[in-house]
């Protein structure tokens, strides 16, 4: 059998093939014979037996959806609950003329006339004996209207179901998110079996990220059905089929039915009072506020304005209304706290000054002269200070208090982009914070490497010294989210402890109600060359609010607590070398963004906060007072 010595023998091979083919045909016929014998056995010999069994088959298994878990704030106030709501439902097979019925209902103002086409399409897609919801939330008047005309609408009836309700509506819209109708995409990522019978699923925010905990496990019950499949009677679920502690029923769900396991209630670190104060303070502005407890990373408040009413989503938003929200120029659906990236401007000066100290570019007492502008050696380009006449000779504390740009231009230039990028990254900027809801944007701390990858043209890929200079005051390529700024400020407040921000702090065991705390994640510690530098930066930030010439002095006047803060005003629109920025003549949308970051009390921080106001013009005049109102609310009942 050595290879290569046998030759092809076409006729022999064909004979061999025919032989095998014949064997195959015989086997095929044999197998078909066995199958047919089996079918005759089932359908002829045992037909009567199976026909009886089929007649007795009257018990169907039906899923019972679990009750969704509630969401509480840190003080036990309910932020998302389930309310009974009356729905108008139609069973297609019992309705004679669906279009006419729907028209009549629309005339009585019980359903939206624009939704008729969609409802009809939906009814065609479903099984004819399963209900189609016509109106997710009927008010009392509608219920009464229908009740007296019920006999005219066979196949249409009112049913009580649970509806998700967010009592604080817009104040929690982006953070808690909302539930909406289960879509085909949702089913791709979810366990279909567990969602049998569930109509709505978390779409964004906490509702989405904690879907697994909130949803619970589906139950089953046995239903006696008639020959047409209509339910006649529900059999009781026996208690011994109750689920075990891990939520999985012993044995098979079909055995006796199984009670659903309700979803877990979850507790947020959020304080709804602060959330409301933030929403109130931001009234009329586009922007975001994030407040974090620097000691734990718990998010105390997080809002994005303008917001929308999440209840409209859980009630079933019509396509027209959804389009209107999408087309709103203020983009209320956009979560600015998590996804809005803005140039941080001067609010990163504390971090930048810390980098100068850490890398020994300056010592705290070193002075620099500020003539109102800065030039790179050998260049005529003037980097302007916000104060054209300059700040004179300033040390670190004064530079911070007055937000002197030249001080940061000059030292930033000496620090260089590589060390700047390394330090800013270490202090929480330019990357996602890892908050426990989805969709966070990373922002950007530029570096040589980033620039090489970001630009197509070769000449654009080189890093220029001037870009380092403007990065030192948080302009240029640098951008960050409100959440990142609050997080980075919290790292300053906690003297280097990097706590991962999080919304959810605990959940409850649905069976015994025990509170299960979710473990905190600490992302290591930022170690400085000299621990004393933390104090210098804190003092410089206190000088912003308390110093003679502090930029936030006016807005922080008279606080009972000491605030360490930093104002920021970030350019949206570049003005020419010799032009003057005049806020009155610039289009509202091109005005500077107003920012403010702070932590308080300065010596034992409990809250760190970042406020971003789109086109707010001035960090000191617009953003700082907003932060003040929220902090006032936080400290109002305390002796400090």
């Amino acid at each position: 059998m050595a290879p290569g010595i046998r030759f092809k023998d076409p006729w022999g091979e064909q004979r061999l093939f025919f032989g095998r083919l014949l064997a195959a045909i015989i086997i095929v016929l044999l197998l078909v014979g066995i199958l047919v014998a089996r079918l005759v056995h089932l359908q002829v010999i045992n037909h009567v037996h199976f026909a009886d069994l089929s007649q007795d088959n009257r018990i169907r298994i039906e899923p019972v959806p679990p009750t969704r878990g509630l969401i509480y704030d840190r003080n036990g106030i309910v932020l998302a609950e389930n309310l009974p709501a009356y729905r108008l439902e139609m069973i297609p097979e019992q309705v004679e003329d669906m279009p006419a019925t729907l028209q009549a209902l629309a005339q009585l103002n019980l359903i939206d006339a624009d939704e008729i086409d969609r409802t009809l399409a939906l009814a065609r897609r479903q099984r004819r004996f399963e209900p189609v919801t016509l109106n997710f939330r009927m008010d009392d008047e509608q219920v009464a209207t229908f009740a007296v005309r019920r006999q005219h609408f066979p196949g249409v009836d009112i049913r009580a179901r649970l509806r998700r309700h967010y009592p604080f509506a817009g104040a929690t819209a982006h953070t808690i998110g909302y539930v909406g109708g289960l879509s085909a995409q949702d089913l791709e990522r979810l366990d279909r079996a567990n969602y049998a019978g569930t109509a709505q699923v978390g779409k964004v925010g906490v509702e989405r990220a904690y879907e697994d905990l909130l949803h619970g496990r589906v139950g089953y019950r046995q239903v006696v059905v008639n020959a047409r499949g209509r339910a006649l009677q529900y059999l009781e679920v026996s208690d011994d089929a109750a689920p075990s502690a891990n939520g999985v029923a012993p044995g098979n769900p079909r055995r006796a039915g199984r009670a659903p396991v309700p979803g877990q209630d979850i507790v947020l670190g959020l304080d709804i009072r602060l959330q409301l104060a933030a929403q109130e303070a931001m009234q009329g502005w586009r922007g975001a506020v994030v407040a974090i407890d620097p000691n734990s990373g718990d998010i105390l408040a997080m809002i994005s304005t303008p917001a929308f009413d999440p209840n409209r989503f859980s009630e079933g938003l019509s396509r027209r209304d959804y389009q209107a929200l999408l087309n709103d120029p203020d983009n209320p659906l956009f979560d600015r706290a998590l996804r809005g990236t803005y140039p941080p401007g001067s609010t990163i000066k504390p971090q930048m000054a810390l980098a100068f100290l850490h890398h020994n570019i300056v010592r705290p007492g070193d002075r620099r002269f500020c003539p109102g502008h800065f030039r790179l050696p050998g260049s005529s380009h003037r980097f302007r200070d916000w104060r054209p006449q300059g700040h004179g000779n300033v040390d670190l504390i004064e530079a911070m208090a007055q937000s002197c740009d030249v001080y940061f231009y000059a030292n930033g230039n000496e620090l260089g982009i590589d060390r700047m990028h390394e330090f800013m990254t270490a202090i929480g900027l330019g990357q996602v914070t890892g908050v426990d809801i989805l969709g966070e944007r990373p922002g950007l701390v530029p570096s040589r490497e980033w620039k090489r990858g970001a630009f197509r043209r070769r000449e654009d890929q080189a890093w220029f010294p001037g870009e380092t200079v403007i990065a030192a005051i948080g302009q240029g390529y640098m951008n960050s989210t409100a959440l990142q700024l609050a997080h980075s400020t919290a790292i300053l407040a906690a003297r280097g402890a990097r706590m991962q921000p999080r919304l959810v702090v605990a959940s409850t065991d649905p069976l015994n109600g025990a509170l299960l705390e979710i473990e905190r994640t600490k992302i290591s510690r930022l170690e400085l060359r000299d621990e004393h530098h933390w104090d210098v930066i804190r003092d410089s930030m206190v000088a912003v609010t308390r110093g003679q010439r502090g930029t936030a002095r006016n807005s922080m006047q008279g606080t009972s607590y000491v605030v360490a803060g930093k104002t920021g005003t970030a350019q949206v629109f570049t003005i020419g070398q010799d032009e003057v920025y005049d806020e009155d003549v610039i289009d509202e949308r091109l005005r500077d963004h107003a920012l403010f970051v702070a932590f308080a009390p300065a010596d034992a921080p409990e809250i760190s906060i970042a406020v971003i106001v789109e086109n707010g013009s001035s960090g000191a005049r617009v953003a700082a007072p907003i932060a003040r109102r929220i902090m006032d609310r936080y400290f109002e009942d305390r002796e400090l």
């Binding site: 030759f7 089932l42 069994l53």
Partner: protein, 378 residues
């Protein structure tokens, strides 16, 4: 002499217009007719099994359209071209499977698919054709029956992709890929003693395999052996499908009247268990007619294999036809309680389009082989 014969052939069969079209498109009318009939019956039954949901039936119709397009395209490729593609197609398929394995880990398995709107396509489907093609290509100019080391090489080429598919995990497809490759070997005249050795080895390995089987796999085997011992658990599917088939009797309950299917007692009624719906609504006669149609298709395929003129075409045509039969017998066997439940759909009838494109592509290859025979002097 050859010339005269050819001419005689031409004049003996003047072609009608449809006949001419068939010939230009390289289609085989008997096979095409059988396939179209089968698909039409399938849609008819699906309408009932899907609870008279016409949207879903239309969707399935579109998938069938795509599958027929695949058949039409492959019918245009001459077998010699196909043969030269075989190793490359195999390598490409292997590469895609590796990619799936690699990305599947990060994408929670969601990237097992390529989404083509109506049809979701798995790279493992390519292997259902690429593996037998590779085996037939390899044996094409080697002496048959294949020598031992050739057999070993082919087994490697069959089991490597099968293993990749099995870990996806998609055991059903892996088994079909192995079948398609092994059939080529068997048809090529694999020596009896190798076959016997394989059988002995398998029997010897059975206790060892039992030892390594996972819990649910063992339960499947036990349920198969005695479904009644777990009537509401794992044996539920089999019991309900037996009731469906048995209660259908000789003539069936009539279209749209199957209570087992419509009252949702029968699980997977539109996909793996549609054979039971046919049994319930159309009875024994309906099932016999369906089986007859399947036999016509398989028979035509084997006829094409027998008339093929080179080793590659012969082996490939035989393997494609018999693999199709394996689909049918495994599905019918599992639904009627003769085989364990393994999740193989009833070809061209079950709802869903993943395997349909490959199946119809295979029939395209059969047609290409058959319509490109040269007339040889005898």
């Amino acid at each position: 002499m050859i010339f005269e014969q050819t001419q005689a052939f031409e004049t003996r069969r003047p072609l009608s217009l449809p006949g001419q079209l068939m010939r230009t498109l390289h289609l085989d009318p008997p096979l095409l007719l059988a396939l179209v009939t089968l698909c039409a019956i399938g849609l008819f039954v699906l309408y009932s099994a899907l609870g008279q949901n016409s949207d879903l039936v239309i969707g399935q119709g579109m998938r069938i359209g795509v599958a027929f397009a695949a058949m039409l395209i492959l019918a245009q490729v001459p077998p010699s071209t196909l043969r030269s593609w075989a190793p490359w197609l195999f390598l490409a398929g292997l590469g895609l499977l590796m990619a799936v394995l690699f990305f599947g880990a990060t994408g929670k398995g969601a990237q097992r698919w390529l989404d083509l709107r109506f049809i979701r396509f798995q790279p493992s489907e390519i292997m259902k054709l690429a593996v037998p093609m590779l085996a037939a290509w390899y044996l094409h100019d080697r002496a048959l029956p294949p020598a031992f080391h050739h057999v070993v090489l082919i087994l490697l080429a069959v089991f490597a992709p099968a293993a990749l598919i099995a870990v996806q995990p998609d055991l059903g497809t892996a088994v079909l890929v192995v079948c398609a490759g092994m059939l080529v070997l068997l048809l090529a005249g694999l020596r009896l003693r190798y076959m016997l050795a394989a059988v002995v080895l398998t029997i010897a390995a059975a206790p060892v395999m039992w030892h390594f089987m996972l819990d649910y796999q063992r339960r499947r085997v036990l349920t198969f052996l005695n479904p009644e011992n777990d009537p509401l658990g794992a044996g539920y599917n089999i019991i309900q499908s037996k009731i469906a088939i048995g209660s259908g009797g000789v003539f069936g309950k009539g279209w749209l009247n199957g209570t087992q299917a419509h009252l949702e007692f029968l699980p997977e009624r539109a996909t793996d268990f549609i054979f039971a719906v046919i049994g319930e609504e159309f009875g024994l006669l309906g099932l016999l007619a369906l089986l007859a149609l399947y036999l016509i298709i398989v028979g035509r395929g084997l006829y094409i294999a027998a008339n093929a003129q080179d080793t590659f075409s012969r082996l490939l045509a035989g393997s494609i036809s018999l693999t199709f039969f394996i689909y049918v017998i495994v599905n019918a066997g599992m639904v009627s309680g003769l085989l364990p439940v393994v999740g193989v759909p009833l070809p061209l009838v079950s709802f869903g389009g993943t395997s349909m494109v490959t199946l119809m592509g295979g029939f395209g290859i059969l047609m290409s082989i058959h319509t490109r025979r040269k007339l040889l002097p005898t």
